[in-house]
Amino acid sequence: MSTRKASQTPNKNLLVRFLTMNTSGQSSGRDLPLWRQLLIQALCLFILFSVMFPIMYIVTLSLSPKTQRPSALELFPKEISFIAYKQVFDHPTGNPVSFIELLRNSVGLSVSVGLVALLVAVTAAYAFSRFNFKMREVLMVLVFIPLLMPGVGLVTPLYLLLNQFKIVDCGQGVTALTPLFACDGGERGRLIFNLRDSLLGVGIAMSAGALPFAIWNLKGYLDTIPKELEEAAAIDGADSNQTFWKIILPLAAPQLAVTFFIGFIGNWQEFVTSWLFLTQPKDYTLAMTLYNMTGQYASSIPWNRFAAMAVIVAMPVAVVYIALQKQIVGGLTTGGVKG
């Protein structure tokens, strides 16, 4: 190749040779001349700039010492000050709740809702995926319907439902669990615990939406496990239960984990339900705090704190996403849309 070139065009322009130099780093396969490489690099950098631009904006804002929105555009911090982060860690909101408590509530809520949804959904998903029984289509549609109803639609009845379960202190050491029992003589009693106004209640409400999604997603995954495995197990004398617990579950474990993480990300950022239900600051979550900061008298949003909190809330999601991008995307499309 090179000898032919040399003999045909011995004094080819050095610049042209430089620009058409192959940069693909592979001896066979397609060439990638330098000029094309540079062109694509320029495009990629431009795209990178457009992607990073709002992110740099937020990060810079979080490093600013002033609470007001800067009137000029700042992409790189003029002065780096960690005061916003410090304020977020010390005193995240105007409420008496510490950052650790918020973090604990967020993590606890996201993890437990994700786990519960996963564990309850996996048997149902298996049943839909593997068994063929009379009511299969009907029940599948039934599971599917809540996914079509917007979350806003379920909130009011759940609020009412959970609001009915209270533990009240009737005085003289008697406690009652309404609505099953009530205090004597129609006394209201002192409220000790209201299911609606607790993280447990919020967790239950969030599971209402998390369960159907988990069943749907897992079913899609389980569909991709070849049936030959079960047939082989059946030949070996295992019944359905053993096949499920000992063979299918271990095999599907990575996919189970991915469903869990997709659910985790969703729950981590969810604030609408917790916002409507909770009134005690000790139950608040990080996502709620983020929302809390935007709804004020508009002039008093502490922008640097808001940005710092945004960065903190985005971190775990970023870590999970970057570590598991392939699986998560595969999970969303396989499990999801085939229906």
């Binding site: 007001q68 409420n95 209201r188 609606r196 709804g295 008093s300 502490p302 999970v320 598991l324």
Partner: protein, 393 residues
């Protein structure tokens, strides 16, 4: 698989550690203090919130038998959250907010009548302030401060504030950046400047032609100001105007005195205040609102809550709120030395008491679409006529 396992175990470990790091169990108190829960809507980190925190800190020592639980709720949500919770049987013992919705809340039964409870205890509070907490002759709240829209200006940029509407318009036409806050609430004061009325003494809408002309004149005037703001791209809301005014780009801003803390922190001695300019019809009459503590009818600690509210509005507390946050106190025992506060009190003398009647809803429902005139170009006369017609349907 390894990555998943690692992440998973990290999560579990994190949950366990955080649970262990939770708040330690507090030893049982000697005598169970009465718990009073109270909500507020002061912005995070604002002057008002900081002052409130300081007052609450001293309350912990001065009121040892009462444990005060505080919750901050964003302003755009506090009425909704309170009403929903109270209607569902719960809610805090009290909350502090402007009397924006007092009438509506009384009608749906979400605030308690405290006329009997507070009888004889409110001698220190001005009648003006108490009046703002009353509906139908009964008292529904404990007043804390007075609020209305006024004209804030930077003394370095404007030597004397415009005293008449013509002067203000000339100032803006001359190129001085003024951040007017447009909207059915902030603009109300200009109706008085042109002699127009929305309500008469019995809170009926004043629909006769002569009055409508004056209201139209007011709306046209504000529209003129809007077109100047639009042409110059000056801020048109208090949120947008905050940065320019505090940084010295805008010479003036029309806003309520709740923002005084922020303005004072940025401009210090350069901050000046004046009433909204008077006009051909007389002085301006912005809506005068009263902030106060409202009590939950479901609450079982109303007496303790009242005690806390009175502590939070006593002379020391109100002085702190006045100096740090710009609140015009409802407590008459407070000594007013700040010229800004004196200026505010002067401006309030011509203000119009915010009506609590149901008809006020018709004002909001029919006169808030000002963009129709400013943006869509509907003639002011037509819009005003339609507004009155809609309000009296």
């Amino acid at each position: 698989m390894k990555k998943l396992g690692l992440l998973f175990s990290l999560l579990i470990v994190a949950s366990v550690i955080l649970t262990a790091c939770g708040p330690k169990a507090t030893p049982a108190p000697v005598a169970a203090p009465v718990e009073v829960t109270f909500w507020h809507a002061y912005g995070t980190g604002s002057a008002e919130e900081t002052a409130l925190a300081a007052i609450l800190a001293s309350a912990a020592t001065d009121l040892p038998n009462i444990k005060i639980n505080v919750l901050q709720v964003p302003f755009n949500d506090i009425f909704t959250k309170y009403d929903t919770d109270v209607a569902a049987g719960g809610g805090p013992d009290m909350f502090i907010a402007p009397n924006d919705n007092l009438g509506g809340q009384v009608r749906t039964g979400t605030v308690a009548d405290i006329t009997a409870l507070a009888d004889g205890k409110l001698g220190d509070y001005s009648d003006l302030a108490k009046g703002g907490m009353m509906y139908d002759g009964k008292l529904y709240g404990l007043p804390e401060s007075l609020k209305a829209v006024v004209f804030w200006y930077n003394k370095d940029m404007i030597a004397t504030p415009p005293a008449t509407t013509d002067e203000l318009k000339a100032l803006m036409e001359g190129g001085t950046e003024v951040s007017i806050t447009y909207g059915c609430y902030h603009e109300y004061g200009f109706f008085g400047s042109f002699g127009g009325q929305i309500f008469d003494d019995q809170f009926n809408f004043v629909t006769d032609a002569a009055n409508q002309e004056k209201v139209t004149a007011a709306v046209s005037y504000v529209n003129d100001l809007y077109q100047i703001s639009k042409a110059n791209s000056w801020p048109k809301s208090d949120a947008d105007g905050l940065a320019p005014f505090t940084e010295g780009t805008a010479a003036a801003i029309t806003n309520g005195n709740w923002a005084m803390g922020d303005y004072k922190k940025a401009l210090g001695d350069k901050l000046g205040v004046a009433p909204l300019p008077a006009g051909p019809g007389g002085p301006s009459n912005p809506l005068l609102g009263v902030d106060g503590f409202y009590f939950n009818p479901n609450s079982q600690n109303q007496a303790a809550a009242l005690e806390v509210a009175m502590y939070l509005t006593n002379k020391t507390a109100q002085t702190m709120m006045m100096n740090d946050a710009g609140h015009v106190p409802a407590n008459t025992t407070v000594e007013v030395t700040d010229p800004l506060i004196k200026g505010l009190l002067d401006a309030f003398s011509t203000a119009y008491f915010r009506p609590q009647v149901e008809a006020m809803g018709n004002y909001w429902g029919n006169f808030c679409g000002t963009d129709q005139v400013f943006e869509a170009g509907t003639p002011a006369a037509d819009w005003v006529a339609a507004g009155f017609a809609g309000a009296t349907k």
